[in-house]
Symmetry: C3
Subunit: 184 residues, 3 copies
Protein backbone atom coordinates (compact mmCIF):
# COMPACT_ATOMS: atom_id res chain seq x y z
CA UNK A 1 0.00 0.00 0.00
CA UNK A 2 1.15 3.46 -0.92
CA UNK A 3 2.34 5.78 1.82
CA UNK A 4 1.12 8.85 0.01
CA UNK A 5 -1.91 10.56 1.56
CA UNK A 6 -4.98 9.21 -0.26
CA UNK A 7 -8.08 11.28 -1.00
CA UNK A 8 -11.36 9.69 -2.05
CA UNK A 9 -13.37 11.57 -4.68
CA UNK A 10 -16.93 10.29 -5.02
CA UNK A 11 -19.30 11.48 -7.73
CA UNK A 12 -22.86 10.62 -6.77
CA UNK A 13 -25.04 10.79 -9.88
CA UNK A 14 -27.48 8.34 -11.44
CA UNK A 15 -26.76 9.64 -14.92
CA UNK A 16 -22.97 9.84 -14.64
CA UNK A 17 -22.85 6.32 -13.16
CA UNK A 18 -24.79 4.98 -16.18
CA UNK A 19 -22.49 6.84 -18.56
CA UNK A 20 -25.36 8.98 -19.89
CA UNK A 21 -23.59 12.05 -18.74
CA UNK A 22 -19.92 12.92 -18.44
CA UNK A 23 -18.77 13.23 -14.82
CA UNK A 24 -17.60 16.81 -14.41
CA UNK A 25 -17.78 17.03 -10.60
CA UNK A 26 -15.11 14.45 -9.78
CA UNK A 27 -12.55 15.91 -12.22
CA UNK A 28 -13.29 19.43 -10.90
CA UNK A 29 -12.46 18.28 -7.34
CA UNK A 30 -9.30 16.51 -8.51
CA UNK A 31 -8.13 19.57 -10.47
CA UNK A 32 -8.80 21.88 -7.51
CA UNK A 33 -6.84 19.64 -5.11
CA UNK A 34 -3.96 19.29 -7.61
CA UNK A 35 -3.76 23.07 -7.79
CA UNK A 36 -3.92 23.68 -4.03
CA UNK A 37 -2.03 20.81 -2.36
CA UNK A 38 1.75 21.15 -2.10
CA UNK A 39 2.37 17.63 -0.80
CA UNK A 40 2.21 14.54 -3.00
CA UNK A 41 -1.13 12.70 -2.76
CA UNK A 42 -3.10 10.02 -4.52
CA UNK A 43 -6.71 10.35 -5.72
CA UNK A 44 -9.09 7.40 -5.26
CA UNK A 45 -12.04 8.19 -7.58
CA UNK A 46 -15.49 6.58 -7.67
CA UNK A 47 -18.62 7.30 -9.74
CA UNK A 48 -21.80 5.80 -8.27
CA UNK A 49 -25.60 6.03 -8.44
CA UNK A 50 -27.81 7.94 -5.96
CA UNK A 51 -28.52 4.84 -3.86
CA UNK A 52 -28.08 5.26 -0.12
CA UNK A 53 -26.70 1.75 0.63
CA UNK A 54 -24.19 2.09 -2.24
CA UNK A 55 -23.05 5.53 -1.10
CA UNK A 56 -22.64 4.23 2.45
CA UNK A 57 -20.62 1.17 1.38
CA UNK A 58 -18.44 3.32 -0.89
CA UNK A 59 -17.69 5.77 1.92
CA UNK A 60 -16.90 2.92 4.32
CA UNK A 61 -14.60 1.27 1.77
CA UNK A 62 -12.71 4.52 1.08
CA UNK A 63 -12.28 5.29 4.79
CA UNK A 64 -11.65 1.81 6.20
CA UNK A 65 -9.95 -0.17 3.41
CA UNK A 66 -8.51 2.42 1.03
CA UNK A 67 -7.31 4.45 4.06
CA UNK A 68 -8.30 7.81 2.62
CA UNK A 69 -7.66 10.59 5.15
CA UNK A 70 -10.16 12.74 3.27
CA UNK A 71 -13.19 11.75 1.20
CA UNK A 72 -14.97 14.41 -0.84
CA UNK A 73 -18.35 13.76 -2.46
CA UNK A 74 -20.16 15.72 -5.17
CA UNK A 75 -23.89 15.53 -5.89
CA UNK A 76 -27.03 14.33 -4.19
CA UNK A 77 -27.33 17.02 -1.52
CA UNK A 78 -30.57 18.72 -2.67
CA UNK A 79 -34.16 18.24 -1.51
CA UNK A 80 -35.28 15.91 -4.33
CA UNK A 81 -36.37 12.35 -3.66
CA UNK A 82 -33.21 10.81 -5.19
CA UNK A 83 -30.86 13.13 -3.22
CA UNK A 84 -29.56 10.98 -0.36
CA UNK A 85 -25.84 11.77 -0.02
CA UNK A 86 -26.20 13.56 3.35
CA UNK A 87 -28.29 10.69 4.75
CA UNK A 88 -25.58 8.19 3.70
CA UNK A 89 -22.85 10.42 5.13
CA UNK A 90 -24.56 10.79 8.50
CA UNK A 91 -25.10 7.02 8.62
CA UNK A 92 -21.37 6.24 8.33
CA UNK A 93 -19.98 9.14 10.41
CA UNK A 94 -19.02 9.03 14.10
CA UNK A 95 -19.25 12.80 14.42
CA UNK A 96 -20.98 15.44 12.28
CA UNK A 97 -19.19 18.80 11.99
CA UNK A 98 -22.03 21.31 11.38
CA UNK A 99 -19.70 24.25 10.73
CA UNK A 100 -18.75 22.95 7.28
CA UNK A 101 -22.29 22.91 5.92
CA UNK A 102 -23.11 26.25 7.55
CA UNK A 103 -20.11 27.95 5.96
CA UNK A 104 -20.56 26.35 2.54
CA UNK A 105 -24.21 27.41 2.41
CA UNK A 106 -23.29 30.90 3.55
CA UNK A 107 -20.72 31.23 0.78
CA UNK A 108 -23.03 29.80 -1.88
CA UNK A 109 -25.79 32.11 -0.69
CA UNK A 110 -23.77 35.11 -1.83
CA UNK A 111 -24.13 33.64 -5.37
CA UNK A 112 -27.61 32.10 -5.54
CA UNK A 113 -30.65 32.24 -3.21
CA UNK A 114 -31.22 28.51 -3.75
CA UNK A 115 -28.07 27.72 -1.71
CA UNK A 116 -30.37 27.14 1.27
CA UNK A 117 -31.73 24.02 -0.47
CA UNK A 118 -28.39 22.24 -0.11
CA UNK A 119 -28.10 19.81 2.79
CA UNK A 120 -24.33 19.31 2.40
CA UNK A 121 -22.42 18.46 5.55
CA UNK A 122 -19.14 17.05 6.81
CA UNK A 123 -18.23 14.51 9.44
CA UNK A 124 -15.57 12.12 10.64
CA UNK A 125 -15.40 8.35 10.39
CA UNK A 126 -12.50 7.03 12.48
CA UNK A 127 -9.41 8.78 11.10
CA UNK A 128 -11.13 10.12 7.97
CA UNK A 129 -12.87 13.40 7.21
CA UNK A 130 -15.82 13.22 4.78
CA UNK A 131 -17.07 16.41 3.10
CA UNK A 132 -20.16 16.70 0.88
CA UNK A 133 -19.91 19.23 -1.94
CA UNK A 134 -22.68 20.36 -4.28
CA UNK A 135 -23.01 18.86 -7.75
CA UNK A 136 -22.31 22.00 -9.81
CA UNK A 137 -18.60 22.23 -10.77
CA UNK A 138 -18.58 26.00 -10.19
CA UNK A 139 -20.04 25.64 -6.70
CA UNK A 140 -17.46 22.92 -5.87
CA UNK A 141 -14.56 25.38 -6.09
CA UNK A 142 -16.39 28.05 -4.09
CA UNK A 143 -17.10 25.60 -1.29
CA UNK A 144 -13.59 24.12 -1.20
CA UNK A 145 -12.03 27.61 -1.08
CA UNK A 146 -14.16 28.36 1.98
CA UNK A 147 -13.59 25.24 4.07
CA UNK A 148 -10.20 23.88 2.98
CA UNK A 149 -8.10 26.21 5.17
CA UNK A 150 -9.39 24.15 8.14
CA UNK A 151 -8.96 20.70 6.55
CA UNK A 152 -5.24 19.96 7.15
CA UNK A 153 -5.55 20.76 10.87
CA UNK A 154 -8.71 18.65 11.11
CA UNK A 155 -6.75 15.72 9.62
CA UNK A 156 -3.94 16.36 12.15
CA UNK A 157 -6.53 16.04 14.95
CA UNK A 158 -7.69 12.74 13.41
CA UNK A 159 -4.02 11.58 13.51
CA UNK A 160 -3.79 11.45 9.72
CA UNK A 161 -0.99 12.54 7.35
CA UNK A 162 0.38 16.10 7.42
CA UNK A 163 -1.15 17.82 4.39
CA UNK A 164 0.44 20.99 3.06
CA UNK A 165 -0.89 23.58 0.63
CA UNK A 166 0.77 25.97 -1.82
CA UNK A 167 0.65 28.93 0.56
CA UNK A 168 0.49 31.59 -2.13
CA UNK A 169 -2.64 29.83 -3.45
CA UNK A 170 -4.47 28.86 -0.22
CA UNK A 171 -3.14 29.08 3.31
CA UNK A 172 -3.99 26.19 5.61
CA UNK A 173 -4.34 27.30 9.22
CA UNK A 174 -3.03 25.40 12.21
CA UNK A 175 -3.66 26.96 15.66
CA UNK A 176 -0.45 28.00 17.38
CA UNK A 177 0.51 29.62 14.09
CA UNK A 178 -0.30 33.27 13.54
CA UNK A 179 -3.74 33.56 11.89
CA UNK A 180 -3.65 35.02 8.38
CA UNK A 181 -3.85 38.83 8.60
CA UNK A 182 -6.35 38.97 5.79
CA UNK A 183 -8.67 36.24 7.04
CA UNK A 184 -12.21 37.27 6.15
Amino acid sequence: MSHLPRIGIVTVSDRASRGEYEDRGGPAIQAWLAEVLACAWEPVPRVIADEQPLIESTLRELCDHERCCLVVTTGGTGPARRDVTPEATIAVCDKVLPGFGELMRQVSLTKVPTAILSRQLAGTRGGSLIINLPGQPKAIGECLEAVFPAVPYCIDLLEGPYLTTREERLKAFRPGQKPPATHR
Copy 2:
Protein backbone atom coordinates in the same frame (compact mmCIF):
# COMPACT_ATOMS: atom_id res chain seq x y z
CA MET B 1 -60.45 18.77 -5.82
CA SER B 2 -59.15 22.14 -6.95
CA HIS B 3 -56.22 22.26 -9.34
CA LEU B 4 -54.90 25.48 -7.87
CA PRO B 5 -51.67 25.20 -5.87
CA ARG B 6 -52.67 24.83 -2.21
CA ILE B 7 -50.70 26.29 0.66
CA GLY B 8 -51.25 25.21 4.26
CA ILE B 9 -51.02 27.95 6.89
CA VAL B 10 -50.82 26.59 10.44
CA THR B 11 -50.98 28.81 13.51
CA VAL B 12 -49.65 26.90 16.51
CA SER B 13 -50.79 28.65 19.68
CA ASP B 14 -52.56 27.43 22.80
CA ARG B 15 -54.26 30.78 23.31
CA ALA B 16 -55.30 31.42 19.71
CA SER B 17 -56.70 27.88 19.44
CA ARG B 18 -58.88 28.49 22.53
CA GLY B 19 -60.04 31.83 21.13
CA GLU B 20 -58.45 33.77 24.02
CA TYR B 21 -56.29 35.61 21.59
CA GLU B 22 -56.82 36.71 18.01
CA ASP B 23 -54.66 34.81 15.55
CA ARG B 24 -52.42 37.39 13.92
CA GLY B 25 -49.70 35.04 12.57
CA GLY B 26 -51.84 33.08 10.11
CA PRO B 27 -53.40 36.21 8.54
CA ALA B 28 -49.91 37.81 8.31
CA ILE B 29 -48.65 34.79 6.32
CA GLN B 30 -51.70 34.81 4.07
CA ALA B 31 -51.37 38.56 3.40
CA TRP B 32 -47.66 38.21 2.61
CA LEU B 33 -48.28 35.36 0.15
CA ALA B 34 -51.18 37.25 -1.49
CA GLU B 35 -48.86 40.18 -2.05
CA VAL B 36 -45.92 38.16 -3.41
CA LEU B 37 -47.39 35.28 -5.44
CA ALA B 38 -48.35 36.05 -9.05
CA CYS B 39 -50.04 32.70 -9.69
CA ALA B 40 -53.50 31.82 -8.38
CA TRP B 41 -53.38 29.72 -5.18
CA GLU B 42 -55.60 28.53 -2.40
CA PRO B 43 -54.89 28.91 1.35
CA VAL B 44 -55.70 26.02 3.68
CA PRO B 45 -55.65 27.57 7.18
CA ARG B 46 -55.54 25.82 10.56
CA VAL B 47 -55.30 27.14 14.14
CA ILE B 48 -54.19 24.51 16.66
CA ALA B 49 -52.80 24.10 20.19
CA ASP B 50 -49.12 23.50 21.04
CA GLU B 51 -49.55 19.73 21.25
CA GLN B 52 -46.97 17.69 19.36
CA PRO B 53 -49.31 14.85 18.22
CA LEU B 54 -51.86 17.41 16.98
CA ILE B 55 -49.23 19.43 15.10
CA GLU B 56 -47.92 16.22 13.52
CA SER B 57 -51.36 15.03 12.43
CA THR B 58 -52.22 18.49 11.05
CA LEU B 59 -49.00 18.60 9.00
CA ARG B 60 -49.60 15.07 7.69
CA GLU B 61 -53.19 15.93 6.74
CA LEU B 62 -52.17 19.11 4.91
CA CYS B 63 -49.36 17.34 3.00
CA ASP B 64 -50.97 13.97 2.28
CA HIS B 65 -54.73 14.63 2.04
CA GLU B 66 -55.08 18.35 1.31
CA ARG B 67 -52.18 18.08 -1.18
CA CYS B 68 -50.54 21.33 -0.11
CA CYS B 69 -47.24 21.85 -1.98
CA LEU B 70 -46.16 24.21 0.79
CA VAL B 71 -47.10 24.29 4.47
CA VAL B 72 -46.04 27.26 6.57
CA THR B 73 -46.34 27.24 10.37
CA THR B 74 -46.15 30.11 12.85
CA GLY B 75 -45.44 29.78 16.56
CA GLY B 76 -44.01 27.22 18.94
CA THR B 77 -40.34 27.42 17.88
CA GLY B 78 -38.81 28.83 21.07
CA PRO B 79 -37.09 27.07 23.99
CA ALA B 80 -40.09 26.99 26.36
CA ARG B 81 -41.63 23.73 27.51
CA ARG B 82 -44.79 24.16 25.37
CA ASP B 83 -42.78 25.02 22.21
CA VAL B 84 -42.79 21.81 20.16
CA THR B 85 -43.38 22.85 16.53
CA PRO B 86 -39.85 21.91 15.37
CA GLU B 87 -40.08 18.50 17.07
CA ALA B 88 -43.40 17.83 15.28
CA THR B 89 -41.98 19.03 11.97
CA ILE B 90 -38.89 16.80 12.20
CA ALA B 91 -41.12 13.86 13.10
CA VAL B 92 -43.16 14.13 9.88
CA CYS B 93 -40.38 15.16 7.47
CA ASP B 94 -38.35 12.86 5.20
CA LYS B 95 -35.56 15.40 4.85
CA VAL B 96 -34.59 18.41 6.95
CA LEU B 97 -33.19 21.43 5.04
CA PRO B 98 -30.92 23.16 7.59
CA GLY B 99 -30.22 26.17 5.36
CA PHE B 100 -33.69 27.62 5.96
CA GLY B 101 -33.34 27.84 9.74
CA GLU B 102 -29.77 29.11 9.48
CA LEU B 103 -30.75 31.93 7.13
CA MET B 104 -33.91 32.89 9.04
CA ARG B 105 -31.98 33.11 12.32
CA GLN B 106 -29.24 35.11 10.63
CA VAL B 107 -31.76 37.62 9.29
CA SER B 108 -33.64 37.89 12.60
CA LEU B 109 -30.33 38.32 14.41
CA THR B 110 -29.81 41.63 12.67
CA LYS B 111 -32.98 42.79 14.50
CA VAL B 112 -32.88 41.13 17.93
CA PRO B 113 -30.17 39.18 19.82
CA THR B 114 -32.78 36.66 20.98
CA ALA B 115 -33.11 35.32 17.41
CA ILE B 116 -30.72 32.53 18.44
CA LEU B 117 -33.43 31.12 20.71
CA SER B 118 -35.58 30.18 17.71
CA ARG B 119 -35.38 26.57 16.60
CA GLN B 120 -37.34 27.11 13.37
CA LEU B 121 -36.50 24.76 10.50
CA ALA B 122 -37.79 23.50 7.17
CA GLY B 123 -38.07 20.07 5.62
CA THR B 124 -39.81 17.99 3.01
CA ARG B 125 -42.55 15.42 3.37
CA GLY B 126 -43.08 13.62 0.06
CA GLY B 127 -43.91 16.34 -2.44
CA SER B 128 -44.48 19.07 0.18
CA LEU B 129 -42.17 21.66 1.68
CA ILE B 130 -42.84 22.58 5.35
CA ILE B 131 -41.38 25.81 6.77
CA ASN B 132 -41.54 26.91 10.41
CA LEU B 133 -41.80 30.65 10.97
CA PRO B 134 -41.61 32.51 14.28
CA GLY B 135 -44.77 33.61 16.07
CA GLN B 136 -44.29 37.39 15.87
CA PRO B 137 -46.10 38.85 12.81
CA LYS B 138 -43.20 41.25 12.14
CA ALA B 139 -40.64 38.46 12.17
CA ILE B 140 -42.83 36.39 9.81
CA GLY B 141 -42.36 38.87 6.96
CA GLU B 142 -38.61 39.20 7.56
CA CYS B 143 -38.15 35.43 7.42
CA LEU B 144 -40.34 34.93 4.33
CA GLU B 145 -38.49 37.71 2.46
CA ALA B 146 -35.21 35.88 3.16
CA VAL B 147 -36.11 32.32 2.19
CA PHE B 148 -38.94 32.64 -0.33
CA PRO B 149 -36.71 33.30 -3.37
CA ALA B 150 -35.66 29.62 -3.09
CA VAL B 151 -39.14 28.20 -2.47
CA PRO B 152 -40.58 27.93 -6.03
CA TYR B 153 -37.49 26.03 -7.25
CA CYS B 154 -37.61 23.74 -4.22
CA ILE B 155 -41.21 22.91 -5.10
CA ASP B 156 -40.13 22.24 -8.72
CA LEU B 157 -37.58 19.72 -7.37
CA LEU B 158 -40.37 18.09 -5.35
CA GLU B 159 -42.38 17.82 -8.61
CA GLY B 160 -45.04 20.22 -7.37
CA PRO B 161 -46.87 23.07 -9.15
CA TYR B 162 -44.95 25.88 -10.84
CA LEU B 163 -45.25 28.87 -8.48
CA THR B 164 -44.58 32.34 -9.80
CA THR B 165 -44.01 35.60 -7.96
CA ARG B 166 -44.62 39.26 -8.82
CA GLU B 167 -41.05 39.86 -9.95
CA GLU B 168 -40.99 43.54 -9.08
CA ARG B 169 -41.90 42.56 -5.50
CA LEU B 170 -39.79 39.41 -4.95
CA LYS B 171 -37.79 37.53 -7.54
CA ALA B 172 -37.89 33.74 -7.31
CA PHE B 173 -34.66 32.15 -8.49
CA ARG B 174 -34.44 29.03 -10.62
CA PRO B 175 -30.90 27.84 -11.53
CA GLY B 176 -30.22 28.08 -15.23
CA GLN B 177 -31.64 31.58 -15.05
CA LYS B 178 -29.30 34.48 -14.49
CA PRO B 179 -28.99 35.17 -10.73
CA PRO B 180 -30.38 38.54 -9.65
CA ALA B 181 -27.63 41.18 -9.96
CA THR B 182 -28.54 42.66 -6.63
CA HIS B 183 -28.69 39.41 -4.67
CA ARG B 184 -27.45 40.15 -1.16
Copy 3:
Protein backbone atom coordinates in the same frame (compact mmCIF):
# COMPACT_ATOMS: atom_id res chain seq x y z
CA MET C 1 -30.23 25.57 49.69
CA SER C 2 -29.19 29.01 48.54
CA HIS C 3 -31.70 31.19 46.75
CA LEU C 4 -29.07 32.86 44.62
CA PRO C 5 -29.09 31.93 40.92
CA ARG C 6 -26.58 29.12 40.48
CA ILE C 7 -24.42 28.68 37.40
CA GLY C 8 -22.57 25.44 36.67
CA ILE C 9 -19.10 25.80 35.14
CA VAL C 10 -17.75 22.53 33.76
CA THR C 11 -14.21 22.14 32.48
CA VAL C 12 -13.97 19.02 30.33
CA SER C 13 -10.31 18.06 29.97
CA ASP C 14 -8.45 14.82 30.55
CA ARG C 15 -5.28 16.65 31.52
CA ALA C 16 -6.86 19.29 33.76
CA SER C 17 -8.88 16.60 35.56
CA ARG C 18 -5.66 14.66 36.31
CA GLY C 19 -3.96 17.84 37.55
CA GLU C 20 -1.34 17.67 34.75
CA TYR C 21 -2.48 20.99 33.50
CA GLU C 22 -3.91 24.03 35.21
CA ASP C 23 -7.57 24.60 34.39
CA ARG C 24 -7.74 27.97 32.66
CA GLY C 25 -11.13 27.59 30.95
CA GLY C 26 -13.29 27.34 34.08
CA PRO C 27 -11.72 30.41 35.75
CA ALA C 28 -12.04 32.36 32.46
CA ILE C 29 -15.79 31.66 32.39
CA GLN C 30 -16.17 32.58 36.06
CA ALA C 31 -14.25 35.85 35.60
CA TRP C 32 -16.31 36.76 32.52
CA LEU C 33 -19.60 36.14 34.35
CA ALA C 34 -18.41 38.08 37.42
CA GLU C 35 -17.65 41.03 35.17
CA VAL C 36 -20.93 40.94 33.23
CA LEU C 37 -23.65 39.89 35.69
CA ALA C 38 -25.17 42.62 37.86
CA CYS C 39 -27.21 40.26 40.05
CA ALA C 40 -25.70 38.14 42.80
CA TRP C 41 -25.04 34.52 41.70
CA GLU C 42 -23.20 31.43 42.83
CA PRO C 43 -20.76 29.42 40.70
CA VAL C 44 -20.83 25.62 40.89
CA PRO C 45 -17.54 24.52 39.32
CA ARG C 46 -16.50 21.04 38.12
CA VAL C 47 -13.35 19.73 36.39
CA ILE C 48 -13.84 16.35 34.71
CA ALA C 49 -12.28 14.00 32.14
CA ASP C 50 -13.42 13.67 28.50
CA GLU C 51 -15.65 10.67 29.25
CA GLN C 52 -19.16 10.84 27.84
CA PRO C 53 -20.96 9.07 30.75
CA LEU C 54 -19.16 11.31 33.25
CA ILE C 55 -20.00 14.48 31.33
CA GLU C 56 -23.64 13.38 31.11
CA SER C 57 -23.92 12.60 34.82
CA THR C 58 -22.23 15.90 35.74
CA LEU C 59 -24.64 17.88 33.55
CA ARG C 60 -27.64 16.03 35.00
CA GLU C 61 -26.41 16.63 38.56
CA LEU C 62 -25.88 20.36 37.95
CA CYS C 63 -29.30 20.78 36.32
CA ASP C 64 -31.44 18.47 38.45
CA HIS C 65 -29.83 18.45 41.92
CA GLU C 66 -27.71 21.61 42.08
CA ARG C 67 -30.56 23.54 40.41
CA CYS C 68 -28.28 25.55 38.12
CA CYS C 69 -30.34 27.74 35.76
CA LEU C 70 -27.33 27.88 33.43
CA VAL C 71 -24.52 25.37 32.88
CA VAL C 72 -21.55 26.39 30.77
CA THR C 73 -18.96 23.86 29.60
CA THR C 74 -15.49 24.41 28.15
CA GLY C 75 -13.52 21.87 26.12
CA GLY C 76 -14.18 18.69 24.18
CA THR C 77 -16.03 20.19 21.22
CA GLY C 78 -13.53 19.43 18.43
CA PRO C 79 -13.42 16.55 15.93
CA ALA C 80 -10.84 14.41 17.79
CA ARG C 81 -11.71 10.97 19.13
CA ARG C 82 -11.70 12.12 22.79
CA ASP C 83 -13.92 15.16 22.07
CA VAL C 84 -17.39 14.12 23.23
CA THR C 85 -18.88 17.13 25.04
CA PRO C 86 -21.54 17.84 22.34
CA GLU C 87 -22.59 14.17 22.31
CA ALA C 88 -23.02 14.23 26.10
CA THR C 89 -24.92 17.53 25.92
CA ILE C 90 -27.33 16.29 23.26
CA ALA C 91 -27.91 13.13 25.31
CA VAL C 92 -29.11 15.06 28.37
CA CYS C 93 -31.01 17.88 26.61
CA ASP C 94 -34.75 18.01 25.89
CA LYS C 95 -34.29 20.62 23.16
CA VAL C 96 -31.25 21.66 21.13
CA LEU C 97 -31.02 25.37 20.23
CA PRO C 98 -29.01 25.40 16.98
CA GLY C 99 -28.72 29.20 16.83
CA PHE C 100 -26.13 29.26 19.62
CA GLY C 101 -23.62 27.03 17.83
CA GLU C 102 -24.21 28.77 14.51
CA LEU C 103 -23.53 32.21 16.00
CA MET C 104 -20.52 31.12 18.05
CA ARG C 105 -18.90 29.49 15.01
CA GLN C 106 -19.65 32.55 12.91
CA VAL C 107 -17.98 34.83 15.44
CA SER C 108 -14.96 32.55 15.88
CA LEU C 109 -14.65 32.28 12.10
CA THR C 110 -13.80 35.95 11.91
CA LYS C 111 -10.69 35.04 13.99
CA VAL C 112 -9.57 31.61 12.77
CA PRO C 113 -10.60 29.43 9.79
CA THR C 114 -10.57 26.35 12.03
CA ALA C 115 -13.69 27.62 13.85
CA ILE C 116 -15.71 25.32 11.57
CA LEU C 117 -14.19 22.31 13.37
CA SER C 118 -16.03 23.18 16.59
CA ARG C 119 -19.23 21.26 17.25
CA GLN C 120 -20.29 23.42 20.21
CA LEU C 121 -24.03 23.70 20.82
CA ALA C 122 -26.61 24.69 23.39
CA GLY C 123 -29.79 23.12 24.63
CA THR C 124 -32.27 22.99 27.46
CA ARG C 125 -32.78 20.34 30.14
CA GLY C 126 -35.96 21.06 32.09
CA GLY C 127 -35.49 24.56 33.50
CA SER C 128 -31.75 24.76 32.71
CA LEU C 129 -29.86 26.11 29.72
CA ILE C 130 -26.61 24.30 28.83
CA ILE C 131 -24.05 26.02 26.58
CA ASN C 132 -20.87 24.44 25.22
CA LEU C 133 -17.93 26.79 24.81
CA PRO C 134 -14.58 26.05 23.16
CA GLY C 135 -11.53 25.13 25.24
CA GLN C 136 -9.35 28.15 24.45
CA PRO C 137 -9.75 30.89 27.11
CA LYS C 138 -9.62 33.62 24.44
CA ALA C 139 -12.37 31.98 22.39
CA ILE C 140 -14.52 31.60 25.53
CA GLY C 141 -14.91 35.37 25.91
CA GLU C 142 -15.63 35.89 22.21
CA CYS C 143 -18.39 33.28 22.27
CA LEU C 144 -19.98 34.52 25.51
CA GLU C 145 -20.02 38.12 24.21
CA ALA C 146 -21.93 36.91 21.16
CA VAL C 147 -24.61 34.75 22.75
CA PHE C 148 -25.06 36.12 26.28
CA PRO C 149 -27.41 38.98 25.32
CA ALA C 150 -30.04 36.26 24.67
CA VAL C 151 -29.34 34.18 27.80
CA PRO C 152 -31.36 36.04 30.49
CA TYR C 153 -34.52 35.99 28.35
CA CYS C 154 -34.00 32.31 27.57
CA ILE C 155 -33.84 31.62 31.30
CA ASP C 156 -37.04 33.67 31.77
CA LEU C 157 -38.74 31.39 29.20
CA LEU C 158 -37.50 28.37 31.17
CA GLU C 159 -39.10 29.93 34.29
CA GLY C 160 -35.74 30.40 35.99
CA PRO C 161 -34.38 33.34 38.02
CA TYR C 162 -34.31 36.87 36.58
CA LEU C 163 -30.67 37.49 35.63
CA THR C 164 -29.47 41.04 35.12
CA THR C 165 -26.30 42.35 33.50
CA ARG C 166 -24.23 45.50 33.98
CA GLU C 167 -25.84 47.33 31.06
CA GLU C 168 -22.85 49.50 30.27
CA ARG C 169 -20.81 46.29 29.85
CA LEU C 170 -23.30 43.97 28.04
CA LYS C 171 -26.97 44.63 27.41
CA ALA C 172 -29.28 41.64 27.85
CA PHE C 173 -32.27 41.81 25.52
CA ARG C 174 -35.82 40.93 26.49
CA PRO C 175 -38.47 41.26 23.73
CA GLY C 176 -41.01 43.96 24.49
CA GLN C 177 -38.06 46.18 25.32
CA LYS C 178 -36.61 48.38 22.63
CA PRO C 179 -33.83 46.50 20.81
CA PRO C 180 -30.39 48.05 21.28
CA ALA C 181 -29.82 50.68 18.58
CA THR C 182 -26.32 49.45 17.97
CA HIS C 183 -27.12 45.76 17.77
CA ARG C 184 -24.74 44.22 15.22
